[in-house]
């Protein structure tokens, strides 16, 4: 009843091609952005910013990057965390070595560095596919953190190979408070998500999907396979690189290259599998699921044990939390293998008919 597009007529091509063709979606997005920009900064505390919202946004951006490569262009990658590491270290070095470098320019250049590395490790994709390509990107995941640690220059010869991010300063203003960092990250992520949404419905996105669905057919209709795949690698790594820079500057504040390890790459991969492969919304839903659910589960378990005065063996709640989390992943994958984004789509279809489904 509420969610029905009856009566919304498109009278121009522009109106028909707009990003969100249904008015309710546009309103919902505006409300969501208004909440994120106006309500959240007033309501949330430091814990919410530092431990929940900023990591969620950073990982959503990384998942978005991987989703472009894996979900839209069909190239499986296990190197997302390595590209994040490239972005983080590159941003640090631009800030450190170029006097007066604007922060956002360093982030963009960091993304470009990651893109260049991504293209390099994307070259094997021209010859190999599927699991074999995953193994090739695995090489990136092992090689890049090793190199960043091995060559002292990258970490400015810090004794343990850890880099610490400089203060975030944009046109003389220092982003120091958690709420300021949150707004900065939110803006970057929102703009890049908008760009991604537009990219995947433009010519370049359509050629990615053509290559994903059948590369021989795509080549036959004149899509240059090499360029398409490498562009996908470049764009995906750019997103991961910027996510890495945000991870270093807005979230943790330090980066140890070995933190951005294979585990992290897998986590990003799980985000898009659970959120929905080939969906911009899915990247956000998946990031929320993987980064936030364990935290909430632990808080909930903690509250339950306090409530009932249970005196569990220390460490028990953590193990129960891991069990429940694993169980939920399996549950969601069984009931909806196409991810949370597909679930949302089904809900939308049902809402159109509601409350008269017949």
């Amino acid at each position: 009843m509420l969610y029905r597009e009856a009566g919304q007529f498109k009278t121009s091509y522009a109106a028909d091609q707009q990003l969100l063709p249904i008015r309710q979606d546009r309103v919902a997005l505006i409300v969501l952005l208004a909440i994120a920009y106006l309500a959240v900064p007033v309501v949330a505390n430091d814990y919410w910013f530092n431990a929940i919202l900023i990591p969620f946004l950073v990982f959503a951006l990384a998942a978005l990057g991987l989703n472009i490569l894996t979900g839209y262009a069909g190239q499986l990658s296990l190197g997302s965390a390595a590209f994040m590491a490239v972005g983080a270290v590159a941003a640090y070095n631009f800030e450190l070595r170029v006097p007066g470098m604007p922060l956002l320019a360093s982030f963009a250049l960091a993304g470009l560095c990651a893109a260049a590395v991504g293209v390099l490790f994307g070259l094997p994709s021209l010859r190999i596919k599927g699991f074999y390509l995953a193994v090739a990107t695995l090489a990136a995941q092992f090689f890049i953190p090793w190199l960043l640690v091995k060559v002292g220059w990258f970490s400015n010869y810090s004794s343990s190979g850890v880099i610490t991010a400089q203060p975030m300063q944009i046109v003389g203003y220092v982003f120091e408070q958690p709420v300021e960092k949150y707004l900065l990250v939110l803006t970057v992520v929102a703009l890049m998500a908008l760009a991604a949404k537009n990219m995947v419905r433009s010519a370049v996105g359509r050629s990615w999907m053509a290559v994903r669905d059948m590369d021989v057919a795509a080549a036959v209709i004149g899509i240059p396979i090499m360029r398409t795949k490498l562009v996908a690698f470049a764009v995906s790594s750019f997103y991961c690189g910027v996510a890495g820079a945000l991870y270093a500057y807005a979230y943790v504040g330090t980066v140890q290259p070995e933190d951005l390890n294979l585990d992290m790459s897998f986590r990003i991969l799980f985000m898009i599998i659970i959120g929905g492969i080939g969906s911009i919304l899915g990247s956000f839903l998946g990031a929320a699921f993987i980064t936030l659910l364990p935290i909430f589960l632990e808080s909930a378990l903690h509250a339950i044990t306090q409530q009932f005065g249970l005196d569990l063996v220390p460490g028990m709640t953590s193990m129960v939390q891991l069990l429940v989390f694993g169980g939920l992943i399996i549950f969601f994958l069984i009931v909806e293998p196409n991810g949370l984004a597909r679930l949302w789509q089904i809900t939308k279809e049902k809402l159109r008919l509601w409350p008269f489904p017949h």
Partner: protein, 440 residues
């Protein structure tokens, strides 16, 4: 259709669980936030340390009725030795009490690094007892960070000195071959600069071989070691890595009494897992193991026998459990020091920071506290956020750790010089003006 409904119910259930729990700690207590870990590859080590830490807090409440009448309360948050989880736990514990989490002991070099800027901004002291960022000994650059007692550079130079003693003097070390077998993480890389400096000074040949996390496969590294034929192997291990080093060394026929670990590679958890392979292995230690200390007897009497704690009997008196007691003792004494100046009430982070910076636990005080002989005396100041730098070597006899030396220190002058250089570089990079903070 049905599936969808099921899923939506599932989602709703999940959402119901999501309501985050926030509850205030009892007012009027000194709340201590504990970022601990008991699961994951390093869970066994963390469980021993944090059990000791909490058992000591129980002891202070049960035996003394708190610190000058102010009861202690605490909450433990599981970090899994993971840096991002550690940040999450820190942010959570920070909100739990009006006075903050007292002082944070991350028990992880990685989490220490991740919290350096955050704790300074939040005015909460960060104690890294025998780990962490070595150059933070210079408290003028790192006012909120306390690498208490000894740091990795002290340990590395002390180990070199210990080896030199076994070889018959520093001069005999020339042209000897030493391997550093290290955990490939910030923790494992921390001793590199000082060992390189020592190798240059004493003219021994140094080879550094990394072992990737978690370290349960070392065949390749030990083949390298066999080719290099070193006189000594320094094991900078953690968790399962140390036990694997010992058993692989046995397989390769490398004598264990030519292997020296640092203090994180020298607990019962490491040697017992290696079985017979560990006999003869040396390790530098920050504290002695054993139950023959008055404080351990007190914990037994007031906490364990009363069923206040679930610490397994086997853990009591182990190296890491005793270290947990000592870490908690330092926190409590810092609160006591701050209270002596500022009144008998719960202390805030800034006040506890002052308390740590003015800690002076001499041998007499250690005996009063029941820690005599277990840990060295500790005196902290603004310029020296570390302490004595003393370590004691222990040897595993196949059943237990036995002291193999007195309390010794490494090359303190060299370490201090390198600390000041490194801290000055950090200050320049971050735009910090070094200086001492005033009393709160």
């Amino acid at each position: 259709m049905k599936n969808t409904r099921l899923t939506i119910i599932g989602l709703l259930l999940a959402a119901a669980l999501l309501a985050p729990a926030t509850h205030a700690q009892q007012a009027g207590t000194q709340f201590i936030g504990i970022t601990g870990y008991r699961v994951g590859p390093y869970g066994a080590n963390g469980a021993a340390f944090f059990s000791g830490f909490i058992d000591y807090l129980h002891l202070v409440n049960e035996r003394d009725g708190g610190v000058n009448g102010v009861k202690l309360s605490w909450e433990e948050c599981e970090t899994e030795y993971n840096n991002t989880k550690g940040v999450e736990c820190y942010e959570r514990l920070k909100t739990r009490s009006a006075t903050g989490p007292t002082a944070i002991h991350p028990m992880s070099t990685g989490i220490t690094y991740a919290l350096i800027d955050k704790t300074a901004a939040d005015r909460i002291p960060l104690i890294s007892f025998g780990y962490g960022r070595t150059d933070s000994v210079d408290g003028r650059v790192f006012p909120w960070l306390f690498p208490l007692v000894s740091n990795y550079w002290d340990a590395a130079t002390a180990i070199v000195k210990f080896i030199a003693d076994r070889e018959g003097g520093e001069a005999r070390l020339a042209r000897k071959k030493i391997v550093l077998l290290y955990h490939d993480s910030a923790y494992g890389k921390e001793p590199h600069p000082v060992l390189e400096a020592e190798a240059k000074k004493l003219r021994f040949e140094l080879k550094m071989i990394p072992v990737p996390h978690p370290g349960n496969e070392q065949q390749a590294q030990w083949l390298q070691i066999r080719q290099f034929r070193p006189d000594w192997v320094i094991v900078w291990g953690w968790g399962v890595m140390t036990a694997t080093s010992l058993s692989t060394a046995q397989k390769m026929g490398f004598p264990r009494d030519r292997m020296v670990g640092n203090w994180w590679a020298g607990s019962e958890i490491d040697t017992e897992a290696a079985g017979g392979a560990a006999a003869g292995y040396y390790a530098a230690s920050l504290n002695l193991a054993g139950r023959d200390f008055p404080v351990v007897r007190d914990v037994q009497k007031h906490v364990l026998d009363k069923g206040k704690s679930q610490t397994p009997a086997k853990t009591v008196g182990s190296v890491l459990w005793n270290r947990g007691l000592a870490a908690a003792m330092m926190t409590v004494e810092a609160v006591r020091t701050a209270q002596a100046k500022l009144g008998k009430k719960p202390m805030t982070g800034a006040q506890v920071r002052w308390g740590i910076e003015n800690l002076d636990i001499d041998a007499k005080r250690l005996n009063q506290l029941g820690f005599g002989g277990m840990v060295p005396p500790l005196e902290v100041s603004c310029t020296d956020h570390g302490g004595s730098g003393l370590v004691r070597f222990q040897q595993w006899d196949g059943r237990q750790w036995k002291a193999a030396s007195e309390w010794v220190s490494g090359d303190r002058a060299l370490v201090r010089r390198m600390v000041e250089d490194s801290a000055a570089k950090y200050a320049a990079e971050k735009g910090i003006r070094p200086g001492c903070l005033a009393a709160p």
